[in-house]
Structures are given as structure tokens and as C-alpha cells.
């Protein structure tokens, strides 16, 4: 199997934070969601993939090519959406587009214009007058208008209203109707991923917690609810994370069968959401 994106034992050290042995792989035709709390290392990982930061160890391959040696070729085939604005504030959408378009060998003006119309953007507006959501729409239009094979997005849905977030999901579905294209996007809004993502890679404190298909993740984890009288020190250790209140406890487990053996009908065992998994893993 050839991977469209392959990250092996990636390391990056800062004074107060380090990425430790980050590894994951993405096949063509699929969507991977990259989740984790703020400060977990999501943006750093994406900046390393885009070679905007220098790595301290490990390797990154995009389209099977080394991300540094073939940087130019790779970037021509990546549609990139940042969570920050990297455009010239004083230019209009059209002027900015003309600059960006010149970087890409397969720029497609017709596609861009379609998106601009669909997103209700005025080509004559200056970048600085755009709201956060409109800037995101502009970035997205650029990322999708040069026949990219891999779309990489850093928090594309944060700051967007639910209506447009749903529209983005539809646009992303359209991208992967082509089996050779893939999407990698980081987010902390996990409900978006619960629908669309094929794979989930979860990063916490600079390390990968898991990188698996979403279906596996959601099957492996369960939320357990029960009375606090059931808890003792050993039982508490069985859970990945636990929240106790006056009227009961709620906990996360990745061993549903054991919990069933221990408590039988005394507890409720429910499907965990990605948010549950993130919350309890991060908080403990």
C-alpha cells in the first residue's frame, strides 16, 4: 500500500514542549481527523509536515517523497488551510488570488470563481475587511482550486458557524469522491469528525494516543455510568478517566467486557463519543 502521507518517529523539541515519536499513515481516498486539546502539538505537527518548521528527528513522506527534498513538487499538490491569516491584508480577494495562483502549476480559475460565488465572497473586498469565517472560506477556496491531491487543514472549522461547518463537510465529501485524494485536518470540534472521518489520530502532550479507523476507536471505547458505592481504589484504576459527583460516576473504559464482568447490570454502558474519549484521556 502506498501512502499519501506518512509520518515516522517525528521529533521536535522546544524549551517547554516536545513532540515525541509521532507516527501515522494516511492512504489515498480517505479522511483523517487529527484531534487533541489546545497545545497538544497539532499545529506543530502540521507545520513540520509543511516544512514551515525544521524537524529534529524522524521522517515525513508526502506522496511517497521526502517532504524537504521535494518540497516544491509536494506543495504544488497540497491544498493548505491555516487557522491564521497568512495573506496580505491590504489586497483584495482578486489581487491576492492572482498572486497565489501563480505559485501553482494546475491553478483552475473557474473552480475558484465557483467557490467564491458559492461562499458569497466579493472578489473586490479587501482581505482585512473579511470576518474570520470569510477568511476561512477564502483560504478554503484557494486550497481547493489547484487540483490538489492532499488537503491539509489546521482547525478549518473553528470560528465557523454550524451551517457553514456542515457545508464544508459536503465540500470535503465531494473531494474524496475521487479515490486518489485525501484530506488531513486538525480540529478540536470532534462532532464534525464523528461523521466524516475514516481515521482518527489523537495527540496529547506531544505524543500519539492512537491512530486508528474511527469505527475501531468508537467500538473500543465505552462510557460507564454507575453509583459511587461501586467504586474503590482498584476499580478506579480500571478506568482511563473518571468523573465523580454526588449522584454517581461516569468513566471511560477501553475494556467493556471486563466492566461487564465486574458490574453486570449494575452499571450503564454506553457508546463513547470522540469528545468523551478526548475529555477523559486528557483529564484522567
Amino acid at each position: 500500500m502506498d501512502y499519501i502521507l506518512e509520518v515516522n518517529n517525528l521529533r521536535k523539541e522546544f524549551k517547554k514542549f516536545a513532540l515525541k515519536d509521532i507516527s501515522f499513515k494516511l492512504e489515498p481516498g480517505y479522511i483523517m481527523g487529527f484531534i487533541g486539546p489546545n497545545g497538544a502539538g497539532k499545529s506543530t505537527t502540521i507545520k513540520l509536515i509543511m516544512n514551515l518548521l525544521k524537524l529534529d528527528g524522524g521522517e515525513i513522506k508526502v506522496f511517497g517523497l521526502d517532504h524537504k527534498k521535494h518540497e516544491k513538487e509536494i506543495k504544488d499538490r497540497i491544498g493548505f488551510v491555516y487557522d491564521e491569516n497568512y495573506y496580505y491584508e491590504d489586497l483584495t480577494i482578486k489581487q491576492m488570488k492572482n498572486i497565489v495562483a501563480s505559485f501553482y502549476s494546475k491553478w483552475d480559475d473557474a473552480t475558484f470563481n465557483d467557490y467564491i460565488e458559492q461562499f458569497d465572497l466579493d472578489p473586490k473586498s479587501k482581505i482585512k475587511t473579511l470576518s474570520k469565517g470569510m477568511k476561512m472560506k477564502f483560504s478554503l477556496a484557494v486550497a481547493l482550486s489547484h487540483n490538489a491531491d492532499l488537503i491539509i487543514m489546521d482547525e478549518p472549522t473553528s470560528g465557523l458557524d454550524p451551517v457553514f461547518r456542515r457545508e464544508i463537510l459536503d465540500i470535503l465529501y465531494n473531494v474524496i469522491q475521487d479515490e486518489t485524494k485525501s484530506i488531513f485536518f486538525s480540529t478540536h470540534i470532534t462532532t464534525d469528525l464523528e461523521k466524516i472521518a475514516d481515521y482518527i489520530t489523537f495527540i496529547n502532550k506531544g505524543s500519539i494516543v492512537f491512530s486508528e479507523t474511527k469505527d475501531e476507536v468508537l467500538e473500543n471505547y465505552s462510557v460507564v455510568k454507575g453509583g459511587i458505592d461501586l467504586l474503590d481504589r482498584d476499580i478506579r484504576k480500571e478506568f482511563i478517566g473518571l468523573k465523580e459527583t454526588n449522584v454517581g460516576f461516569e468513566a471511560l473504559t477501553n475494556n467493556k467486557d471486563k466492566v461487564k464482568r465486574l458490574f453486570g447490570e449494575e452499571v450503564l454502558i454506553e457508546r463513547a463519543t470522540l469528545e468523551d474519549i478526548m475529555f477523559y484521556t486528557v483529564r484522567g
Binding site: Q177, E179, K195, K214, D215
Partner: protein, 124 residues
Amino acid sequence: MKILISNSSNEPIYEQISSQIKSMILKGELIEGEMLPSIRGLAKDLQISVITTKRAYDELEREGFIESVQGKGSFVASQNKELMREMKLKIIEEQLQKVVKECNVLGLSYEEVSEMLRILFEEV
């Protein structure tokens, strides 16, 4: 073709898809040779992941309900009539089992239930 996915059901989504398609085939709503939606198109329509949809189709293919042709898509497979009948009987048996359980809860006798069945049969 109608497929409805419940997010609150405990049944995994891929099973919801495969069992609904299976039942359409068993009921004859989908006939031999009919083309199913593409995996990616169905994922988009149901707003679920491609892998989940693929798993549902893989399951249906393994059980012989559909056939996939590389580059062309997935089609309803020709069904073995004997096998179909047996599967339908199995579904009826399962539903009857549920009914029997409910009857036990209410304390209905076999005679009472059989009388009910007789009336229902006559009404049809």
C-alpha cells in the same frame, strides 16, 4: 432506495446499512443485477465515513448478497432461491421467538396465541 441511519441506536452504523440493504433484497425491492450507490456517494449521502460504508458493502459481498466489479461498482447478486427462502424463514422464526417471549411475560397460553394467529391469518 431508502436507508435510514440512527445515531442513537446501539447497532453499529455499518450493520444498519447492511441489514437494510439485505432486507430490501430479501423483500425483492432490490433485484438481481441492480446497481447499488457507489461507496463514496453513499458515504456522502448518509454523512458517514467511507470506511464505514465500505465495511457494510464488504459484509454484504461476503454473505453473497452483492457483487463488486472493480471500476464498475456494486450490484445485487443473483440469489439462490432455496437459500433466500431459508433466510426468510429464519427471520420469521426470530420474530416469532420475540412474540413467544412477550406472550410468556403476559402469561398467554399456547391455545390463546394460536387462536390469535388463526384470526390474523384469516384477516389477511
